[in-house]
Symmetry: C2
Subunit: 415 residues, 2 copies
């Protein structure tokens, strides 16, 4: 299945040129876990001293690799020994009982031996079908080849190796000048279905050459997740494998000690941009997507309400099918606002499609013409704005339309 | 659109023979609100003394008729004067500002004058497109014809008049013998999309000839809603017009004074059966549905957790597309359990498709054979059972599959 889908019409023109991150090396290989004729495993080796932060799915049935990563990050082993990340596609090693834990251990030990990194600092992830035993020997058999192939300029190959129903590899990067010197950031992501916003979603790996202590790194990662990966949805379903990791090698010279000073703010801003870019690329590769939709909610009583309304619209199958049908069906937006559970007042609500005022004062706007709404809906990138007129809180979410393509992909694909 | 869809493959063979309810008369007519060549308005007249109870959507953007019904039930006007219910399809009179309130008043006054019922006891509902002004003059022009046509045996015509994307009219009834005498119950419903379970959903009208005081009637209706209409889902979207009303005419001779005595229990049991039957018919007419699915959750720590897990499975687009594809993809059931937010333990969970044990002890069951699962999934009626192994709480929900038909209906239909 993977690789046989046509590339999303919303895909970027090409994989971006990402900055090399001193202290981070990448490799990928064909292990044949499930897919034939393509790479399906990637390895990253991180220099001694690298700080690592992670955000993971809160699913009660999360995968063996996720549980292992969480335990290792909590243990906070000495970063002086370096670290490694190994990820396979085709099998998620989720709901595989104790055998799943054994697979994780076998892979970590193989990487530890070959890459010279303690097993306590080897992080794994697996993505693909749930509930089938991971044939981990196919992966361990490739570890020597992977270590031998590690290169600083091979991140695009790593992005390709972790794809499942993705139709394009996803990457984003930044180089930001700070008082402490230049900081480089490069990240990759996979994900197009089972995308819901209740936590860090999907598999995402971001690298920087800045020097940042792990607690500071964890703080900024958790904070920025709320407005990036936790602000997107494809189908409201939540993966058992979602993992977002951020590694700071400290090999670039610049040191971030305080997120509030000029260096810290420059780094945070650049990281936020990279995270938002990757999150939006996941939506652009939403299963069956033909429209990219930004949902902007303003005027809410609270941040929680703003988020609730934005996600109710972004997750509504009726809103998403109307968008697929290029129907300016603002009544369904009203429905989604109503069902969200947030405070709302019919008579204070206003709705815009792009810059077109559609509804206000509890009814269709006098100036609104259906022909203008219909013409707007034909665009591939849309913005739906709702002002609740009650307060100052706001939230922006990103989603895609719900099409026949989503049904076709998911009525066939074993994920 | 309405009426042009093929009848759901899950539809009952024919509309049931419902018992006549003394004190309740029905009529329907063609008002041309939106649809041509079909009935689109129905009227019910209830005898003096009828008790009435209602449960309505909790949507913050609920329609003008819903707001009016809630105000009238709260005011608890003298039942001695009788009552009426008038419902149109094709336009929901939701998000229509003050003009919407005016339409409700105009319709209530017309019915009051023609049917000899105070306007404070005329209840309305409207279902169809949101945000377009209701042309209520087309309805008031038919009120005289409706009143003249009222008949005790015309409930099936009323069920047909309130259909929108429904492909069949929905009815259910019961005659139950009690110590106080026989009690007859007859109900009708409409609904096939924008069906979500956070409240009474859709339009449902149930009638009984028992004599029951309004507070008792309201209590039993609210109570039974939790395991019937609040236990179904088609698409997780919640209508702005959902209304469920129960009228007790008291014209049948039997009186219910205590829900806990033999008469009360017989009545409650029969009413529960009628409500569950109507709720399941709504799912059987789910937009694009080809499979009817019962989701049984047991062994939960709390009632809330049991419901949460059942609805997470029943609402998951990935579970529903797998069912459409006849794929025994139990990994997606695990995913839905995990994302539900309920307490769950991977290693205590068991999953069954029908009687087939699929997974237990945190992994696929040793006895499970994929061929058996695949054969089971070809059935039109399926049962997915999940035992959480943690406690004694249980919940059963009903849902349908998610197919290309749902996309086609909703990318075109203005609802």
């Amino acid at each position: 299945m993977a690789g046989s889908l046509p590339v999303s019409p919303l895909a970027p023109g090409r994989f971006p040129d990402l900055p090399e991150i001193a202290g981070a090396e990448f490799a990928s290989a064909q292990a044949g876990v499930r897919y034939a004729g393509r790479t399906d495993v990637m390895l990253v080796r991180l220099a001694p001293g690298s700080g690592i932060a992670g955000v993971f799915t809160r699913s009660a049935t999360r995968s063996a690799p996720v549980l292992d990563c969480q335990a290792k990050l909590a243990a906070a082993a000495d970063p002086g020994a370096g670290a490694a990340i190994i990820v396979n596609s085709g099998n998620s090693n989720a709901f595989t009982g104790r055998a799943g834990d054994g697979s994780v251990a076998a892979i970590c030990e193989a990487v530890s031996a070959a890459a010279g990194v303690p097993a306590s600092r080897v992080f794994t992830a697996s993505t693909g079908v749930i509930g089938e035993r991971l044939p981990h020997d196919r992966i361990t058999a490739r570890v020597g080849e992977l270590v031998a192939g590690l290169r600083a300029d091979a991140i695009s190959g790593a992005a390709a190796a972790i794809m499942t129903t993705d139709t394009f590899p996803k990457g984003a990067g930044a180089v930001v000048e700070t008082p402490a010197g230049a900081i480089r950031i490069a990240g990759i992501a996979k994900g197009s279905g089972m995308i819901a916003p209740d936590m860090a979603t999907m598999l995402v790996y971001i690298f920087t050459d800045a020097k940042i202590a792990a607690p500071l790194l964890q703080g900024v990662l958790s904070d920025l997740t709320g407005t990036t990966f936790n602000a997107i949805t494809v189908d409201g379903d939540t993966s058992t494998s979602d993992s977002l990791m951020l590694a700071a090698t400290g090999c670039g010279g610049a040191e971030v000690n305080d997120l509030a000073d000029a260096t810290g703010r420059a780094f945070t801003g650049a990281l936020h941009g990279v995270m938002r870019d990757l999150a939006q690329q996941v939506v652009r590769d939403g299963e069956g997507a033909t429209k990219f939709v930004e949902v902007c909610v303003t005027g809410a009583e609270s941040d929680a309400d703003a988020r609730r309304v934005a996600m109710a619209i972004a997750n509504s199958p009726l809103v998403k099918t109307a968008i697929a049908g290029e129907d300016p069906n603002w009544g369904r937006v009203v429905m989604a606002v109503g069902k969200s559970g947030a405070a709302a007042d019919r008579d204070r609500l206003s709705i815009r499609f792009g810059d077109i005022l559609v509804a206000e004062n509890g009814w269709v706007a006098e100036s609104y013409r259906e022909a203008a709404g219909a013409a707007y809906m034909k665009l591939p990138e849309l913005r739906i704005s709702v002002d609740l007129g009650l307060g100052a809180a706001a939230f922006t979410a990103w989603t895609c339309d719900l099409t026949h393509g989503y049904i076709s992909i998911n009525a066939d694909y074993r994920s």
